[in-house]
Symmetry: C2
Subunit: 215 residues, 2 copies
């Protein structure tokens, strides 16, 4: 089926916001509490941040363990990579994820201010000023035949949807309202002209998994 | 979390039968029609038998694409491997799966009548006379740190459940009654003393996914 572009485990409030207002170093999701949006995932055995060997292995875990399944590269927007805007003042910032980022593949960061690539553990970050189509071509070449994950944030997912480049999209709607912030959609049904949609309520976490794939 | 023993995509009728009565070369599932039990999986994009590039990518596909995810070996019973019983008359039979079996790992076939190992494509079949615990130990060694899949059939899954060796179990209950055959359980709730259970209805196929993991 070729190399798909997949949005995996994208977390959105019930009113459609993927992030709150006012991102900063201290609050990567602005006024939103990422622990609320991610509670369903953090409870699972395969959540990348989990180190204690516990966690659930029900439906929600199928989603967290699919995060890296057959993924060979990620594309993300600069606002997922960090809170800085405009030209880099220095290159000290290496992302939010510490010495062992959860990607384990090449990552392409879209930015109007490219900087040199660097490697942390088995993740290499590249910085590209490129259209969505150009970035996808680069990521596919790097993915060694595997799929490419589109990591967000909201503006980046919307740009790739607008360019009609997304093949599958998994959005986890958390039972929390944000009221304002970065809006993914007005309604989950906005995409039905181009995508199939299945809505699957988690039996335990209160999240409703929205699974889209291209018609 | 160590190397798990996982039952993946095990297909059962709504009345609890994993296979019909009277297995033969012509009818691997006896009087049951495997196309009915497997219809949900065959419709998905990641069903191993699919070659046309189509298929759905909704909830059911998460299960078919998890089939090989982090699996390093399979254990199966002899009745999954073939219709013969008793001593081998010859070694011509090499399984139901043709030249490219869907396993792509070492496979350990439990039998009272061992025979030499052989390789088809990237699957090697080994034949073991062993207890469930011994077989699991061998499979773990071969799995290179990954999990082991317990492939069935019914008697084999039950033997490993009786020995309390199963860590996770995914059973897809198809909307079909068989009436007789190889029974997995009297009720899906039989396992609740030792396992968590989530029941997740597929939005499109009529199957109810039963996801168990050890308490």
């Amino acid at each position: 089926m070729g190399q798909l572009l997949r949005v995996q485990n994208f977390m959105v409030s019930s009113d459609g916001f993927g992030s709150g207002e006012g991102q900063s170093l201290e609050r990567p999701f602005g006024h939103a509490d990422p622990a609320q949006l991610a509670a369903w995932a953090g409870a699972t055995a395969h959540w990348p941040g989990r180190t204690d060997g516990g966690g659930t292995m029900g439906l929600d875990d199928y989603f967290t363990r699919d995060f890296a399944n057959n993924i060979g590269a990620e594309i993300m927007g600069r606002n997922k990579f960090g809170p800085q805007r405009g030209p880099w003042e220095d290159h000290e910032w290496q992302g939010w994820w510490g010495d062992v980022p959860p990607f384990h593949t090449p990552v392409f960061v879209l930015t109007h201010h490219p900087r040199p690539s660097f490697t942390l553990d088995d993740t290499t970050f590249h910085f590209l000023e490129a259209t969505p189509a150009e970035a996808l071509e680069r990521a596919r070449q790097a993915a060694d035949g595997k799929d490419v994950r589109l990591g967000g944030g909201v503006a980046t997912v919307r740009a790739f949807l607008d360019a009609d480049l997304v093949d599958t999209l998994h959005v986890a709607l958390a039972p929390v309202e944000l009221g304002r912030g970065e809006r993914l959609w007005d309604s989950p049904d906005d995409l039905l002209d181009r995508f199939h949609l299945e809505k699957v309520p988690s039996p335990s976490s209160g999240v409703v998994h929205h699974i889209y794939w291209r018609r």
